[in-house]
Symmetry: C2
Subunit: 340 residues, 2 copies
């Protein structure tokens, strides 16, 4: 039997991007007529079926949810997966997980693969690259064809669907307010670039807290880390630039790296500098000092995402227009030993 | 459309176990004729197709590998998944991940779901419960039907297939030898019950190292933890029972719990007690002191498992008898600050 032709192979053969092939097969106005004809002719020749979602919808009731996550070596995502699994299993559903590895192309391919009759609906958190490209056609198309999609954590306004997010702004505000309440006067922020929505929202929470307390905001108090592979070096430099007495880091890795760097400059934690992280993972709990941190309830988030999709799958079909909701999960500040 | 009947539903309707249904449908000699007839009649009535694997084999070339792991909130498994993904992607394959949550029933159901035309072969690490029950019919049956299976980490002799394992005995021996070489005279072991094969093998490495150095082995030097939820308490008691100057723990969580417990008894690490863990995860790297640990190369293990299955999938079919191999991945001792 001839192996099934994939989007990727068509893209390679015609020397265009996967996104172009995907859009051309769906007659997108963004693609030139010439390219569309070429792609369609090729797909026809090799008997490629672009539209398996419709087929999958007819056979709905696989009782399986497809889950696409950007990365897996990441405590937060694993707890969300656990929450989704828990709720889905309680309701008699199964879960299949695929990783996008933060790659746009892999995300497109994963969706194609899963929509191919294996699943009834998607839960997903989009890849960094997809956010950077702002190309959401693959997700919008699945939604337009009537397959339920729920997004969590990394969500975007350009996609209309049910969403579950952490209240990142509020979590960050709470953390910075706690630093100020316990006497910090100069609070540094270690965060990610703004195109990562959670980094941006946590940065916003930091500035809101400072504004509310009429504290000045300086660019030099903020470190934005583009590439995690040299975060240790960057943080080491950053903590030396100013005489910080508080540090708020948007994840637990940055927080422990800040503590290690501060210790090398003879600073005591929390006597000289208070440090707060984000995500209550294994590091925060096991580190010495145990980290004060903003807890992201990943399991709860996963359960809510699974509930949203299963409710939609089990709702009798109506002619009414779809209503979407966004559930905001509250964080809470877990006070431990790294703050005064 | 009538929802597809699942193994689980049949089991519930007939008030028997999933394993019984699965075996009855495959005419296992372990099941009484009476039960077999009942199960088969029920399945026929509801048009349940037990044997989708054959169908899947005909349509092979989904270019997708099914992966079943016991748990996901576990750094080691996530690195193995990453390795499998990496290698599979390089070769143009995709990966779908399902979790067994250490449940036998979920493992059986996951295999049924994935074998249903979605994948070309399985990579799996079996659940704790499956090891405890010693019921491997679901895996053996898939293999008998000609679907390639590769097992990793948690493997058993009763299943004949390709396997990838860590050389656990050697890793543990190296760790204990290092403790002895640096002057430890009384080395405690914190491990899991023997039915977890890796716990058993690491315990064996510990005793081999002590034997080789003509050191006595005492039961009271060994703590076997059945239930991780009260490991902290058990470890706190254990480190007080003897005047240990070295501790070898079979995972990094036990190692940091031992360090925290020892500190509460006014012991300094590593001056008074040296501690070595197993698995070089985020905790080991970020803890203070940074942990000396036996590194399990999870990514390498994943890559090897993916290579084994893809090689088999791409090999032209022959009439020769299947040859299976077991690849042993060497560990290495990463010396850091928790040992002298």
């Amino acid at each position: 039997m001839r192996p099934k032709l994939t989007l990727k192979q068509i893209a390679r053969e015609l020397d265009v991007s996967i996104s172009t092939v995907s859009k051309a097969l769906r007659d997108s106005a963004e693609i030139s007529e010439d390219t569309k004809q070429k792609v369609k002719a090729f797909a026809k020749l090799y008997n490629y079926k672009p539209n398996n979602i419709a087929l999958s919808l007819k056979n709905r009731k696989t009782k399986t949810i497809g889950l696409i996550v950007p990365e897996i070596v990441h405590h937060f995502f694993t707890t969300v997966i656990r929450g989704i699994e828990e709720y889905a299993n309680e309701k008699g559903y199964h879960v299949m997980v695929c990783l996008s590895n933060n790659s746009f192309d892999k995300e497109v391919i994963n969706m194609e693969m899963l929509a191919n009759g294996s699943i009834d609906g998607f839960i997903l958190s989009i890849s960094k690259e997809t956010m950077l490209k702002e190309d959401y056609h693959h997700i919008n198309e699945v939604i337009n064809q009537g397959m339920p999609v729920v997004m969590f954590d990394r969500v975007v306004d350009q996609i209309k669907c049910d969403k579950v997010v952490i209240d990142d702004v509020e979590g960050a505000t709470k953390a910075v307010q706690h630093l100020l309440d316990t006497g910090c006067k100069k609070v540094g922020l270690i965060t990610t670039p703004d195109y990562i929505n959670v980094g941006k929202l946590r940065t916003q929470g930091y500035t809101e807290a400072l504004n509310k307390n009429r504290m000045p905001i300086h660019e030099k108090y903020i470190l934005k880390i583009e590439d995690d592979s040299n975060s240790e070096e960057l943080i080491k430099e950053f903590v030396k630039t100013e005489d910080f007495d508080g540090i708020f880091a948007v994840n637990e890795e940055y927080a422990v790296q800040a503590i290690s760097a501060l210790r090398k400059t003879e600073k005591e934690i929390p006597e000289d500098v208070s440090v707060i992280g984000f995500t209550d993972g294994v590091i925060s709990k096991n580190f010495i000092p145990k980290l004060t941190t903003v807890n992201q309830p990943g399991t709860e988030m996963g359960r809510q995402a699974a509930k949203l999709i299963i409710d939609k799958l089990e709702k009798p079909e109506t002619e009414e227009e779809e209503q979407y909701q966004t559930i905001e999960i509250k964080t809470n500040l877990v006070k431990r030993e790294s703050t005064r």
